[in-house]
Amino acid sequence: MTEALVLKPKDYKSRVTPIWCPGCGHHAVLNALTKAMVALGKNKDETVMVSGIGCSSRLPAYIDSYGFHGVHGRGLAVAQGLKVARPDLTVVAMGGDGDGFSIGGNHFLHACRRNIDLTYIAMDNEVYGMTKGQASPTTPMDWDHSKLTPHGPGLRPFKPAAIALSAGAPWIARGYSGNPNQMAKLISEAMEFPGFSFIHVLSQCITYCPEQTDWKQVVHETEAEVVTDMAQAATLFLAEDGMQTGLLFRQQRPCWPPPAQAPQHNAIAVLAKSLRA
């Protein structure tokens, strides 16, 4: 019976139980990712999850595929090197708001710009959850629960979608951990999109930001058609409340790098000859 051959979401999970607090939004992202892999019939051996450091970066260990858990902020660099060297693989990069927009900010910008065919899921809980709740680049200005910034960061938070747009990302979506099925759809579309697909996930932190349970009341699914014009998207991303979910921007662009040339016959011998006196 065909049913037996089709993998189920739990078949894509590893045997390791996540250390995430019960109530954490990342559980839903894991759930969504497995559903997307089911929908696309992804081969576990040919899929790689790549992450940096942080709670959300623990995700690769919870998926039964190849994975690379790197250092803080550098997951996107690892993912890009991997995909360029092994274009045959499905590469998904992931991490949190600190990992991606603070220490990893530069790599985020350039990953958007390079438009290498991979998917980046940023699980944004507006806090550094793993290291005891410091403010991150997306923390609201007046959030004063961190000892490092007891009066609140006092800085305007980044708008990751707007940054991604201006840096060159051709596919930008937003998800919410309270809606894993919508996230699954977005992840599935992201993985199919030829190019750099960025999903900004609002994923609540139950421990440091329990107030984020209120997100449920304000998150809203977009009713508009996906925007395909950059100027329009710029207006959208700068003006929006940052809580709208769905595929928000998409534009077809050539991926980078172009397909590699076939190796020249006797390349090494030719190079040796070029170094002769």
Partner: protein
């Protein structure tokens, strides 16, 4: 005329020129020892093109079967600055910086004092320059013979667009017995892309210069086999890496390593590989890890400041057991330091710069030719041992172009893999094995899925904070380096004397010369040129020095990094001394000899 040490050729030429005609005066030739050497400096500023002059002469000399090396020195400007082409022509391939120049062609004297440290002249030097320029005080004080020649004027006689640097090429060609036709052809290759009129003017200048020989009977070194390479250390490293199978390079430019990456860009494309220009060094090293995780041997190149940025992720390579090779071309440090000059002051960071206990490989080619096989070896070792290899060269080796006999390849063979195919339930990426090397899966391999991790982990790769897992994995990562047979290439050992001279990298050539000199003086020397700096082959080193009562560690840095490293690992000899000096002026054989004599007398 003062006698020089026998290992150097000393020529003194005295020539006088008149505008529109030439009078050749008598030449005094001093005797030359075996291993003749001729050092020529060509200087000029404002786009005079002296580097091109030096390059053409070197290549012309190579075509004749000559051996030699070209170094370059510059002012800080990007264009139009002061430049010096420093040529050493010799009959052997033991290339050191010349400590004395027999011939200086100064197309102009603009800011020449910048080069005073490097271009040392004496009363045995012939200096040729335009009489309209004021000769620098240091030249006058040296007692060098100064002869007037207006390069600019003479070159314009043959052709209205005539160029002084090409005129100089012609002159030198005549002096060195090179064919003007060869030089014209080489010039055309060099100037490919410029318009025909420009190339014609260059040709005319060369031919014109050839017809104005110096007639100073410079003592030419003997020539040999024309089967040679004309290559820089950076190119040689790049070639070695490609030959060893590197097919992914991530590049972030930094002086003096960028040329290696640029050369590799072309080579990689030909070989079917990929190069990504990274946004910073942190991206570069991590991209390499990604590609390597995917099973593609990868490589990056940087210098001190970049290596410092990369250290966290090099540690990730060690902890996750992902192979990677990093070329570090050492330059003057610390911090931004002296980017265009050579030093050996990154030994400490290469050895000890990773946080935690992170044993890894550090190798150092001994000269330009050695860059090929040592880099190949580094890649082979990194791949087999699943760790990071840092290859240390320096600006001297990296950016000097040397004529070398065709380089040899690495002879090292990885031990046979005892990898037995296993199914998912059995496969453990970090399995504890006797050798310490675990069978390594890569994405695409069926049934061996794992997550590589910088977190300490158990055999399966699951993060672990347990004492047993940590000590087992630490032991494993150390054991795999300790239990592999590195063979004999960990160092080059020569001689058998009671005095041991220990070096690494570019000081090796100076040490070899010093050893020869000392031997002539009756002091028997054992030279040890280290190639594998980490893991240090302590037993083998002790054996190599077993006949030595005194050991001197020679290095180009201020804090005697190699000296303290070696002494921290073993005794070396009954008495150990350090000869350590920072850049930018390369340590010379004479300096080493002087220190040795001092030590021996004490």
């Amino acid at each position: 005329m003062k006698r020089w040490l026998r290992s150097l050729t000393n020529i003194c030429c005295v020539v006088a020129f008149h505008l529109g005609g030439f009078t050749i005066m008598a030449v005094l030739n001093n005797l030359q020892a075996t291993g003749g050497e001729l050092a020529i400096a060509i200087t000029g500023a404002g786009g005079a093109g002296v580097i091109s002059c030096g390059e053409l002469i070197l290549r012309g000399w190579a075509r004749k079967g000559g051996r030699g090396m070209l170094r370059k020195s510059f002012g800080p400007q990007i264009r139009g600055g002061e430049s010096a082409a420093l040529l050493v022509l010799s009959s052997n391939e033991c290339y050191t910086a010349a400590t004395h120049y027999q011939l200086v062609l100064a197309l102009d004297w603009i800011n020449f004092d910048r080069f005073e440290d490097e271009i040392q002249v004496s009363s045995d030097t012939l200096v040729i320059c335009d009489s309209n320029d004021t000769v620098p005080g240091s030249i006058v004080a040296s007692g060098a013979t100064v002869r007037d020649l207006s390069f600019e004027q003479l070159s314009k006689q043959a052709h209205p667009e005539g160029r002084a640097n090409m005129f100089a090429v012609g002159m030198l060609a005549a002096e060195l017995g090179l064919s003007p036709g060869d030089l014209c052809q080489l010039a055309e290759q060099k100037l490919a892309g410029k318009d025909q009129a420009y190339i014609e003017a260059a040709h005319a200048s060369i031919v014109n210069g050839y017809d104005h020989p110096l007639h100073c009977d410079l003592k030419r070194p003997a020539v040999g086999d024309t089967d040679s390479w004309c290559v820089s250390g950076n190119q040689a490293v790049g070639f070695g890496a490609l030959q060893a199978g590197v097919r992914f390079v991530a590049a972030y430019p930094i002086t003096p390593a960028s040329d290696a990456l640029e050369w590799m860009a072309g080579g990689l494309e030909m070989a079917g590989g990929q190069l990504v220009q990274a946004e910073d060094e942190l991206a570069a090293i991590n991209m390499c890890l990604g590609a390597a995780f995917g099973g593609v041997p990868s490589f990056t190149a940087t210098s001190g400041p970049g290596l410092a940025l990369m250290t966290e992720s090099i540690g990730l390579a060690v902890a996750s057991e992902t192979p990677v090779c990093i070329l570090n071309v050492m330059r003057g440090g610390p911090s931004t330091g002296i980017p265009t000059k050579s030093e050996q002051s990154d030994l400490d960071i290469a050895l000890h710069g990773l946080h935690g206990d992170a044993p890894h490989l550090v190798l150092a080619p001994t000269d330009i030719a050695d860059c090929v096989s040592t880099t190949e070896w580094a890649v082979q070792l990194a791949q087999h041992l699943q760790t990071a290899a840092i290859i240390l060269t320096d600006q001297f080796i990296a950016q000097s172009t040397g004529i070398v006999s065709p380089p040899v390849n690495s002879q090292w063979q990885a031990p046979q893999s005892t990898d037995v195919a296993s199914e998912q339930q059995d496969y453990q990426r970090y399995q504890l094995t006797e050798s310490g090397v675990s069978p390594r899966a890569a994405p695409g391999d069926p049934g061996r899925r794992f997550t590589a991790d910088g977190l300490e982990h158990n055999e399966a790769g699951t993060p672990s904070a347990r004492a047993s897992d940590h000590s087992q994995q630490l032991d494993k990562r150390r054991r795999k380096l300790a239990s592999v047979d590195f063979g004999n290439n960990w160092a080059d050992i020569a001689g058998g004397g009671e005095l041991g001279l220990i070096s690494f990298g570019s000081t090796t050539a100076a040490v070899k010369r010093a050893a020869q000199q000392l031997a002539d003086e009756g002091i028997a020397v054992t030279t040890v040129a280290l190639r594998l700096l980490a893991p240090l082959q302590i037993t083998a080193l002790d054996t190599a020095l077993s006949a030595c009562n005194v050991a001197i560690v020679v290095e180009q840095n201020h804090s005697a990094q190699l000296f303290y490293y070696l002494r921290g690992c073993c005794d070396l000899a009954k008495t150990v001394h350090s000869v350590a000096r920072a850049g930018p002026v390369p340590i010379s054989a004479e300096e080493i000899c002087a220190s040795v004599r001092e030590v021996m007398q004490a």
